[in-house]
Symmetry: C2
Subunit: 339 residues, 2 copies
């Protein structure tokens, strides 16, 4: 299996990207990595790790970097020598390459993927499905979390299928419990989109729809997958991350305000460290862009080595378990009559 590693665009690039991918390669003897980025810097990092191009490792020189400030359409048009656009081109053109892992600018990545990479038969638009840890030690996926802000009811059906197959194939969740993000749990709650979506989701084959979810229950462990438009999904994910982060910051500040608190915190050092680790999104990998013919995993911009390695794990599992074929079959089975 061949996977492209876009080596630029993250806060810790190219180091985290190169070393993270190498770490994942140790786990999968059949995995080959193609590093795309500044060749000299990549080679130096490989050497640092006792590796070099050849065998399961190759390097493609593409030194330009796309930043989050650039307009995606401009980036795609003007930065052909950027690691991201070169990687997308290779992914499109080489039938032997299965996947791409990138920690670069999300907007440009989605735009390039949408324009250049084909979709799975039946998919209208690809969608992101990030994973958050739940308070009972489990996890919950959110689809879509920002790739599609203006959507139709039928896209919600697709998000439910894409996310269900993803949780089954990459995380081994059986019959993922699918909820519709809404402003109340009652059937008739919500805006026009949600009121139309509810009865539709009840009828979709191949998904385990359990009803509406209020956002305050996201971390409760009662749901495996939440389907939503990309706008409110983005609000859901980023509010959760933001609130957790701000609270931890506040606890830290409060601890330093009094000596007795500092003493108490010393005894609880291990607990706070575990908690921080529990909430560290880096441990849960990147967001897989679901629905494209070839797998694209978007790691967080601040990804470290371990986080990049996790992204490679995700790409590997998607391919190994032939997730896309299962998505195609489900979409076909559940297509509404009017299609």
């Amino acid at each position: 299996m061949k996977i492209l590693i876009d080596c630029h665009g993250g806060d810790n690039s190219p180091r985290a990207n190169v070393l993270g991918a190498l770490r994942a390669m140790e786990r999968y003897p059949d995995l080959e990595a193609i590093f795309v980025g500044d060749e000299a810097r990549i080679n130096a990092l490989l050497a640092e790790n006792g590796s070099q191009p050849g065998g399961r490792i190759s390097v493609v020189h593409a030194p330009e970097v796309i930043t989050g400030e650039e307009k995606p359409t401009d980036a795609i048009r003007l930065k052909k020598d950027s690691s991201m656009i070169r990687a997308i081109k290779l992914l499109r053109e080489d039938p032997e390459i299965s996947a791409l892992v990138s920690t670069g600018a999300t907007g440009s990545l989605v735009a390039a993927a949408t324009l250049r990479i084909g979709r799975i038969r039946g998919v209208r638009r690809p969608a992101f499905c990030p994973i958050l840890p739940t308070m009972d030690g489990g996890m919950v996926g959110i689809c879509d979390s920002g790739a599609n802000v203006d959507i139709t009811v039928d896209q919600l059906r697709q998000f439910a299928i894409l996310g269900s197959r993803y949780l089954e194939n990459v995380y081994g969740v059986e019959k993922p419990r699918v909820a519709l993000l809404n402003i109340g749990t009652e059937t008739e709650k919500g805006d026009a989109l949600r009121r139309e979506a509810y009865p539709m989701l009840e009828k979709v084959a191949d998904i385990n729809f359990v009803g509406n979810m209020e956002s305050r229950d996201l971390l409760s462990g009662k749901y495996d997958l939440v389907v939503c438009d990309g706008f409110s999904g983005n609000v859901l994910v980023k509010t959760t991350e933001g609130t957790a982060l701000e609270l931890l910051k506040k606890i830290k500040k409060d601890i330093y305000s009094k000596t007795v608190y500092k003493m108490g915190a010393l005894l609880m050092k291990r607990m706070f460290a575990d908690m921080k680790e529990f909430m560290n999104y880096q441990n849960y990998g990147g967001s897989v862009l679901l629905g494209t013919e070839k797998t694209i995993v978007k790691g967080h911009g601040s990804s470290d080595e371990a986080a990049v390695a996790k992204c490679v794990d995700q790409a590997y599992a998607v391919e190994k378990n032939r997730m896309n074929e299962k998505i195609e079959a489900s979409l076909k089975a559940s297509a509404p009559d009017e299609e």
Copy 2:
């Protein structure tokens, strides 16, 4: 000033409603309260507090209760003897009554208010504006948080004006910094609604628009008011509350898992208590329904005495500072040309 107290519908009703309102009355010598609910129970609670009907206190018998499970349209039509519907009727018919405080079912309250209580001239639909504490010790208002799920761009203009006048008049915030909830901070981000709203908000007189806000920055203290459709606003508020609650629950559980943590937590007892208090939404009052001719304050269903007293404070401040007249003037000043 006469304020109605709907005494049913909350988890701690009628006790919290009656005693909470009495507590607020001590602060405002010119405040008269009309308690609506089960007369015998209200009289018993008044007696317990050494009070009785007469003078600044009166009681209206309306013993039925509307629950959150009832369909709002049915509740309004069938439960005419409920405390909520009787209170709305009195608010509508008696020109001397200024406001209503209720901890009852939100859906029925909004529906009854929308149908029976007039709007401020120029207001399309009333909107909720709950307040959350920010991590720098300040606060942030969110308008709308659920009363309007399908909205127009012009309603976002109205939410910005309603919320700005509210923060000025009830909380003394000068030139509230208004942000548009979006999925990124760049001008052109978001769905069709947001992309159209941004340049419109830049032109509105009487508001201090500072740009887009990503949901992860809600508690940062950088914004005083966030404007959004009621669907994503609801997600924003409830995700924040839910995440904070789940995290506190997790901390508590973790503490009890080891003796050394319990010892540490003992030293930090005061800190955790302060933190819990800081995040207790009861301390921040209820959500004022902005845009109705007469003031309606919706307290949380779990409101205790102190929370009900806070709701009365809010109603009092709205009336005392003639907020609605200022809203009307602002709406007129900023009305788009097409109106």
